[in-house]
């Protein structure tokens, strides 16, 4: 497997007063994570931070002993949940805080572990096509799947952001964990809903297609675009790329 390059970018957006998202990546360990916190005054950011720190700490320890297994990721989410839930239970100012969590582990055997709770997402850019690897744990998504509404974008905002699963709001949480194969040239995007609420998938695809070879620029440009469209929520992205050259609008020469 070629060299994986990663870049993170997080921005408060143009409407909110605080950034309650938290991001982390480590190229050497091959892990990346985004958490979008919610609840209370300081709560949102505290929840996201605690979850990321606990998840990363557990996997860092496991990685030192060998290949990361699915079980390790499940335990890491349980650790993250425990960290947030116990803090929320002990500090009245932080009651009912919680966070989403999306994360990936790139393994030496050429497989990718994904892990997901809430409405943050993981996308894969491969062979000129963008695929969302996660299914939002939101009321909107579930109603849409059940055929109760035709399209999430047409539904009332009352349901927007209402999650069916989150880290830290109950004693336990069940993450969606998947294993899939990695291809040379893949680009992965982990993001909070502050990005996907502002940008349609087609535009995300365009950015990953053109700038996939330069994760830092791609991450910055996605955040810029989301802010240009209103920046209603905090925007966080992690780009994980093995792509060596982007699609050219014009080849010169």
């Amino acid at each position: 497997m070629g060299l994986w390059r990663m870049a993170t970018e997080t921005h408060v957006g143009r409407v909110r007063g605080r950034n309650e998202d938290c991001v982390f990546c480590d190229e050497a360990l091959g892990i990346a994570i985004v958490a979008d916190g919610m609840g209370g005054h300081a709560g949102g950011h505290v929840a996201a931070r605690l979850a990321v720190d606990a998840w990363v700490a557990h996997l860092r320890a496991r990685a030192a002993e060998g290949e990361i297994r699915e079980r390790d990721v499940l335990v890491a989410v349980a650790e993250a949940n425990r960290a947030v839930f116990s803090m929320a239970s002990s500090d009245p100012g932080l009651r009912s805080m919680g966070t989403t969590l999306v994360a990936v582990c790139l393994r030496a055997d050429g497989t990718l572990l994904t892990c997901h709770v809430g409405d943050s997402r993981i996308y894969r850019w491969r062979d000129e096509a963008l695929t969302c690897l996660t299914r939002d744990h939101s009321v909107l998504r579930e109603q849409c799947d059940a055929g109760m509404i035709t399209s999430p974008s047409r539904a009332g905002a009352a349901l927007r952001g209402l999650l069916t699963r989150a880290v830290g709001v109950a004693a336990t949480v069940v993450p969606d964990v998947t294993v899939c194969g990695i291809h040379e040239g893949d680009v992965y995007l982990l993001c909070s809903d502050g990005l996907t609420e502002m940008l349609p998938d087609a535009e995300i695809a365009e950015v990953l297609g053109a700038l996939g070879a330069n994760p830092r620029l791609a991450a910055e440009h996605l955040v810029d675009l989301a802010n240009d469209r209103g920046g209603v929520d905090n925007i966080s992205v992690v780009i994980v790329s093995s792509c060596t050259s982007g699609r050219l609008g014009a080849e010169l020469g």
Binding site: A158, V207, L211, N214, L217, G230, L248, G249, G253
Partner: protein, 223 residues
């Protein structure tokens, strides 16, 4: 249930249902609708909903509350009224209105004969995604095998160069076009000066050199 659609500069930010009997609007976090902007007072306005009627009240805000362009202290809201607070607009939709997705195409102005006492709301502004109003950036290639070719920069980003040698990207933002280095050891040259890793704004008639090919940037009014 009646709804409010919050927008700024013609861009819909949020849609909210008026579920409570009293919905408060202001900059402070305790408000039901918090708008974190200094032009909005801490407690700016409130909407009281009783059965099918909604009453808007300005809470002695510093910059005032406007409905369809008129300053108001108290106002009985009618469907499609546009409440303005600073640069923010809240469109009031009584029951049964179109949802936000369909509503973006609907004009904000409501001129009707029966409502002659009210002024029409300001016309909707250009969509924020369209940079320098009506103009689109172009690149004309001046040297090399493609000399004479023009390229319209209509997408949010256009990459140019030779893969493996040098690639640059031109991004389209609401406030103009910007060029940034993407890959290669040599950086693009703008008007004879080599760029650094930062994005640089493009002006009309700028001469860009990427991978040994010269080109000119200009903007053109859209037909």
């Amino acid at each position: 249930m009646p709804r409010l659609i919050l927008s700024m500069d013609g861009l819909v930010l949020k849609e909210m249902v008026l579920e409570k009997e009293r919905t408060t609007i202001g900059r402070k976090p305790h408000n039901d609708i918090q708008i974190d902007n200094l032009a909005i007072s801490g407690d700016h306005a409130a909407i009281v909903t009783i059965l099918n009627d909604a009453f808007l009240e300005d809470m002695n805000s510093t910059n005032g509350t406007y409905v369809n362009g008129q300053p108001v202290k108290k106002h009985v809201l009618q469907s499609n009224d546009v409440i303005e607070l600073g640069k923010y607009r809240l469109k009031y939709i009584a029951d049964g209105g179109a949802s936000v997705a369909a509503d973006q195409d609907v004009s904000f102005s409501q001129v009707s004969d029966t409502d002659s006492g009210r002024q029409a709301a300001p016309a909707p502004e250009a969509p924020p995604a369209a940079p320098p109003a009506g103009a689109v950036g172009m690149i004309q290639i001046l040297s090399g095998t493609h000399a004479g070719r023009t390229l319209e920069l209509s997408k949010s980003l256009t990459t140019l160069g030779k893969p493996g040698t040098q690639v640059a990207v031109i991004t389209r933002r609401p406030h103009g076009y910007f060029i940034t280095h993407v890959e290669g050891t040599v950086f693009p040259v703008l008007n004879g000066r080599s760029l650094d890793a930062q994005a640089h704004r493009l002006n009309d008639n700028d001469i860009i050199e990427i991978a040994g090919v010269k080109m000119e940037f200009f903007s053109q009014a859209r037909a």
